[in-house]
């Protein structure tokens, strides 16, 4: 199982008596695009919030590279190789696009506050590497011409791309994308699909939450379906598409007693 980069075992999350996730099992393997789908309120974003350390799970395990990360602070988990984007874009609006990406790249560096103040050799090396890394990623996402603009002044599509670039700057083992195609037109969705494949081919495993089924079916290697906090199906896109429980869940047929 060593190729499972991120694995979630029997994950349960309760908020004051309300069960948001119940015994969920998921994994993301090296070199794949895994998708997590399900109706609104199924608990998809909660999966992200628990794995990235924002919430501590009520029970269950989260393994990153076969190492438990439950109870670690989000910034520790991020540095261990789990990066994410957000359903509603959350950039550092008053910073430039380049600086946004550099904040991610900085987290791989060693230099501390004192070193920065005195401009040690280490700090200069780190500054340069963050800058290079950020410029490279902006280029990779096709928005290098935006580097000097404030994040909040970017067009919506470029904000989405910038958010992905910032996450990639952490050099993550697994990239969690939360509805990256939200608000995109069909043409942009196609481009985004290509971009996500390009990210996978560059060596990042991807876990994708997405509502747009045609996008999910086209680019995912494996799809898991969540409904009312429980995993109801898993398999290749075509398997999932033909699964009766999945169809019922999406059509709203109440059948979660079983």
């Amino acid at each position: 199982m060593s190729d499972r980069l991120l694995e979630v075992r029997n994950l349960t999350m309760q908020f004051g008596g309300v069960t948001a996730l119940s015994e969920v099992n998921l994994y993301v393997s090296k070199g794949e695009i895994a998708a997590l789908i399900g109706p609104n309120g199924a608990g998809k974003t909660t999966v992200f919030n628990v794995t990235t350390g924002y919430y501590t799970p009520s029970s269950g395990e989260v393994l990153l590279n076969n190492e438990s990360i439950v109870g670690l602070k989000p910034h520790k988990i991020a540095r261990k190789g789990l990066a994410r984007t957000f359903q509603n874009v959350r950039l550092f609006g008053d910073m430039t696009a380049l600086e946004n990406v550099m904040t991610g790249a900085d987290s791989r560096n060693k230099v501390g506050l004192i070193g920065s103040m005195f401009g040690t050799a280490q700090s200069r090396r780190d500054e340069e590497s963050s800058h290079l890394k950020a410029a490279e990623l902006l280029n990779f996402m096709g928005i290098s011409h935006r580097g000097g603009q404030l994040a909040r002044n970017l067009p919506y599509g470029d904000q989405r791309r910038l958010e992905i670039a910032r996450a990639l700057a952490l050099d993550p083992k697994v990239l969690l994308l939360d509805e990256p195609a939200a608000g995109f037109n069909p043409q942009e969705k196609v481009e985004l699909g290509e971009l996500i494949k390009k990210i996978r081919d560059a060596g990042f495993a991807v876990l994708l939450i997405e509502h747009d089924m045609s996008l999910v079916m086209k680019i995912s290697d494996r799809v898991s379906v969540l409904d009312f906090g429980q995993k109801i199906a898993e398999g290749t896109p075509s398997e999932v598409q033909n699964n009766q429980r999945v169809i019922d869940a999406y059509l709203g047929v109440a059948d979660h007693a079983s």
Partner: protein
């Protein structure tokens, strides 16, 4: 595809200056900086009816309130402007620095320079003690805790013996001579130069920090603390650093202040000081060092310049704050960064 829409250029003094600055050579920049710094050092000699303060000694005003406000506002700006931590108890650090010098010099005969360093160290220590638990909280809760901290320091100073209680401490020694400059009670100029020198040192360190990783981390925390944490930034650590560095500057300012006024009482360190310094930061333009320094200098200068209004000047000052915030809520020189727009195809900078 063409470049995205670019708003029409508006005349903006700051952008004009920025454009000019970017076009300067290294030598021109050095000349500019040296002459600016020289200007500030000779400022006490430039007292005249237009420029100076007619009713109070100009170099005295330059030291306090102007110089002190600028130094402390720069310190508080790291906390409030850069990192978005609302600190309403900044006076506590100022008080700790002032009492450190007063007590150590009077009771143990410690040298002023040692006391400045110790005052900063004690302020930092207090910052850690308060910050470690308090910085877990956000926004208004943090504000009220810091406000409480400021009040506690003052009330404790009234009620314990080693601070001299409500009567305070008198006869606080001046700094020893340095480079042949004597610190005399009736000549505030050396103290002004001292504050100016400290301010320049702080600006030097500050500029280095904000251009590098710590500056980005602080800004990210101010913009969205959760996301900063998800991006691998140790938010608690950086918030604590901001808080503690701001505290150190406040502590240093306090020690200098005590050495000049020679006697201190707890009532000098009330909430109004915190509010005043915060007003300097917001008035000047939160997060922008030059704006903050300028705003602090103005807020220190005006009540003295407006002495002819005598008793009513604080009344007008309050009114000015309200009007100012309504006209320019982001301060005199807002922190908004200069943007650079590049052409998508050629990669060349597009003129604005």
């Amino acid at each position: 595809m063409s470049t995205s829409k670019i708003s029409m250029p508006k005349f903006n003094l700051r952008d004009k200056f920025g454009d000019w600055w970017e076009g300067t050579t290294r030598n021109q920049r050095i000349i500019f900086r040296v002459s600016l710094i020289a200007f500030f050092y000779i400022l006490p000699f430039l007292d005249n009816p237009v420029f100076g303060t007619t009713e109070s000694d100009f170099s005295s005003v330059l030291f306090y309130p102007m110089g002190m406000y600028v130094l402390m506002a720069i310190g508080l700006n790291i906390v409030v402007g850069k990192s978005g931590i609302l600190d309403l108890g900044y006076v506590a650090f100022f008080a700790i620095g002032a009492y450190t010098h007063a007590i150590l010099a009077l009771s143990f005969g410690f040298n002023f320079w040692v006391n400045v360093v110790l005052g900063m160290a004690f302020a930092m220590f207090a910052g850690v003690l308060l910050g470690l638990p308090a910085l877990r909280l956000r926004g208004d809760y943090l504000a009220i805790i810091t406000l409480g901290f400021g009040e506690i320091v003052r009330i404790v100073a009234i009620n314990v013996n080693f601070t001299g209680g409500a009567a305070g401490l008198a006869g606080i020694p001046a700094p020893p001579n340095i480079f042949g400059v004597e610190f005399l009670v009736d000549d505030p100029r050396p103290y002004y130069w001292l504050v100016l020198t400290l301010t320049l040192l702080v600006i030097w360190a500050y500029m280095r920090l904000i251009k590098r990783r710590p500056g980005r981390a602080w800004e990210a925390i101010r913009e969205d603390e959760d996301v900063a944490e998800f991006m691998g930034i140790a938010t608690t650590k950086y918030k604590l650093w901001a808080f503690v560095l701001g505290g150190a500057i406040g502590g240093g300012a306090g020690a200098v202040y005590a050495s000049q006024v020679t006697s201190i009482v707890p009532e000098l360190f009330d909430l109004n000081v915190s509010i005043m310094i915060l007003a300097c930061v917001v008035f000047g333009g939160m997060g922008n060092l030059w704006g903050v320094a300028f705003g602090a200098a103005l807020l220190g200068y005006f009540p003295e310049k407006l002495r002819f209004l005598s008793d009513t000047r604080i009344l007008f000052f309050g009114l000015l704050m309200v009007v100012m915030m309504n006209i320019r809520p982001d301060g005199i020189i807002p922190r908004k960064k200069r943007e650079k727009v590049y052409d998508k195809n050629t990669g060349k900078e597009v003129s604005r």
